[in-house]
């Protein structure tokens, strides 16, 4: 059953997506309501759709020492770790607590599968080509394995792969391990990169939009896929701490269908209630919700109804997938970072892409960017298999 949790400090956090590398690039794009979607040019065969692509990955192999781990996904993770002083914060935590007292808990949906796909395209006598004969790459655990090796950490190391809720759920894993005293700090977050599996996979489900995605628009035509990496370093709150706070989480299952959400948003609502209960919050305490808002017909319909029936008009809500595309396993942490930026900058991001709002959306929706004091905020993440997560954050000093 839900257990009230003591807040944790978000000691450092960072995000890299099609909006740019690091928090400043994201804050600038959100302030200007400037999205990053572009026509697809990454799939191995043409596929007409829009994507949220991180530029420059092709030209940025991992430094020689880490060449064994080189692939698009680990490159993106490595680039993201170099932003916003994140790697320094991790090294500092390792120095303070010890290598076995820092956990690496990362979410991904496809990890390094782009490298496996490439190996099949370039088969040599029916086998993986020699340069891709690297077993660690052909594993769902490649990302977390790389990050733990990069920081030389020897604490608990786990990959959560629950599709699009993956990098939200790792915040919950971290909270449990820190509260139980198993570790003193945890790197949470995740990375997913564009690859044929997701582009042609979502295409096969007829979920990909031919135009830039328009979350919560009455005329929405589906999702735009994107890639991103994001990380946060969670620790216990220190005396006089001014770090933003992670104050609650909820996890639940729809028990409905592998790729369609529960029609009444049952699992999403259970996750939301669980998060509020753990944080000791009521719906009216919530200033902003970063919605899952994929721009698929069903997801948006169900989530809009949940927001409309649960929150007062004063709560502001938006999806930021119109900026970044749906970054799948990385969406949870990317949107957690955007939520923390919204609190930091007192800026509710626009629900970019929506021109004619779906009539199912309540007064909570911020169609344009708004200035607002955001002290308590939520971020929703829902995945295939009916896997739901909701995270709650508070401004330093605003913990419930």
């Amino acid at each position: 059953m839900p257990h009230p949790m003591p807040p944790l400090a978000v000691r450092a956090y960072t995000a890299t997506s099609t909006l740019g590398r690091g928090l400043a690039a994201h804050a600038d794009a959100l302030a200007a309501s400037r999205g990053g979607l572009t026509p697809n040019d990454v799939s191995s065969k043409p596929l007409a759709c829009w994507i949220g692509r991180v530029s420059g990955l092709e030209d940025s192999p991992l430094p020689g020492e880490w060449a064994e781990w080189d692939c698009r996904n680990n490159r993106l993770a490595w680039i993201a770790l170099q932003q916003d002083g994140f790697a320094e914060a991790v090294r500092d935590a390792r120095a303070r607590y010890g290598a076995s007292r820092v956990a690496v808990l990362l979410g991904t949906s496809t990890s390094s599968i782009g490298a496996t796909e490439e190996g099949y395209r370039r088969r040599e006598q029916g086998r993986m080509p020699a340069d891709l004969h690297r077993p660690a790459l052909h594993s769902p655990h490649s990302l977390a394995g790389f990050v733990a090796a990069y920081f030389d950490l020897e604490g608990p190391c786990l990959t959560v792969a629950t599709a699009c809720s993956s990098s939200a759920k790792v915040f919950a894993n971290a909270e449990r391990m820190i509260r139980l005293g198993l570790v003193d700090a945890a790197i949470v977050g995740g990375t997913d990169t564009l690859c044929d599996s997701v582009l042609f996979g979502f295409n096969s489900l007829e979920l990909v939009s031919p135009e830039p995605c328009r979350p919560f628009d009455a005329e929405r035509q589906g999702i735009s896929l994107g890639e991103a990496a994001g990380f946060a370093l969670l620790e216990r709150v220190q005396e006089g701490d001014d770090a933003p706070l992670f104050v609650g989480y909820g996890e639940a299952s729809d028990a409905h269908h592998m790729s369609t959400p529960h029609p009444d948003g049952l699992g999403a609502e259970l996750a939301l209630r669980d998060a509020l209960a753990r944080a000791g919050l009521a719906p009216e305490d919530v200033d902003y919700i970063n919605l899952h808002g994929t721009a698929s017909q069903k997801n948006d319909e169900v989530e809009a109804a949940l927001v409309a029936r649960t929150f007062p008009a004063s709560t502001r809500a938006s999806s930021t997938k119109g900026f970044t595309g749906h970054t799948l396993g990385a969406a949870g942490v990317l949107e957690a970072a955007i939520t923390l930026l919204a609190m930091r900058d007192s800026l509710v991001p626009a629900n970019l892409g929506a021109v004619s709002p779906d009539p199912g959306c309540g007064p909570q929706f911020a169609w344009q960017a708004e200035h607002a004091d955001i002290r308590i905020a939520l971020s929703n993440s829902f995945g295939f298999g009916g896997n739901n997560a909701c995270l709650a954050f508070a401004h330093a000093g605003a913990a419930p």
Binding site: S109, K169, E175, F200, L266
Partner: protein, 266 residues
Amino acid sequence: MSPALTVWVKGIGLWAPGAADWHAFVDVARGAASPGSTERPVADMLPPNERRRAPESVLLAAAAAGQAVRMSGLDAATLPCVFASAHGDQAITDYMCETLATAPTELSPTRFHNSVHNAPAGYWTIATRCHASSSAISGGETSFGAALLEAAALAVADECDVLLASYDIAGTGPLGEMTSSTGPFASALVLSPRPEGAAACLRISPEPGNSGMEASGDEWFDAIVASNPSAHGLPLMTALARTRSTALRIGAARGLDLHVDLAFAA
């Protein structure tokens, strides 16, 4: 060092080549029977239609999970669950990569949605009407230990009974050569923070170092362990089968083992 997590074992399930369920495995582990023929996993918690269509990973995980939940006497609908696999459904990944390399627009939508690592967790929660949290994790070659730590932490942190199911299937194609998994195996435990109704107790402490696994000398047993990352939990399952109090180490991450004290009531 870290405090120990104390959890009680309320249910156990297992499927191995030659031991189609926990009871068959107990007989083998106690020397009362030899390994039998390899049988299809019986995933009778899934509805008949799903059972027919389910990919091997889902069948295997659901077969072990179903046994463990039945032994526990608990209602699966109320149990948070952690499904763990080093490699997920390698046969589907092999199919996907093969199709993407040749005719990507012909990718099967059903295979695609079954390719997600949480497909077994998804099918399980749908079949059992479980609205509690479900997770799907991987820890590479140390997936079993990583999952045991995660499930025990969840049971203690939220004071709830937790279902843990760990499975891997054999790899196929060019991918299969990259993974260490050459045969299927699954095991499952229902872990509880409370002793009522449980025969065995696990005290789990993370400890620095990787001690590695020693060969047991039993050909059948060692072949299974070598064939499948999820079978790295076999020494624990064997000790449970023999109802023998013991201590063992299970790899949980790079440079991290779990020290497990297994105790039975006298």
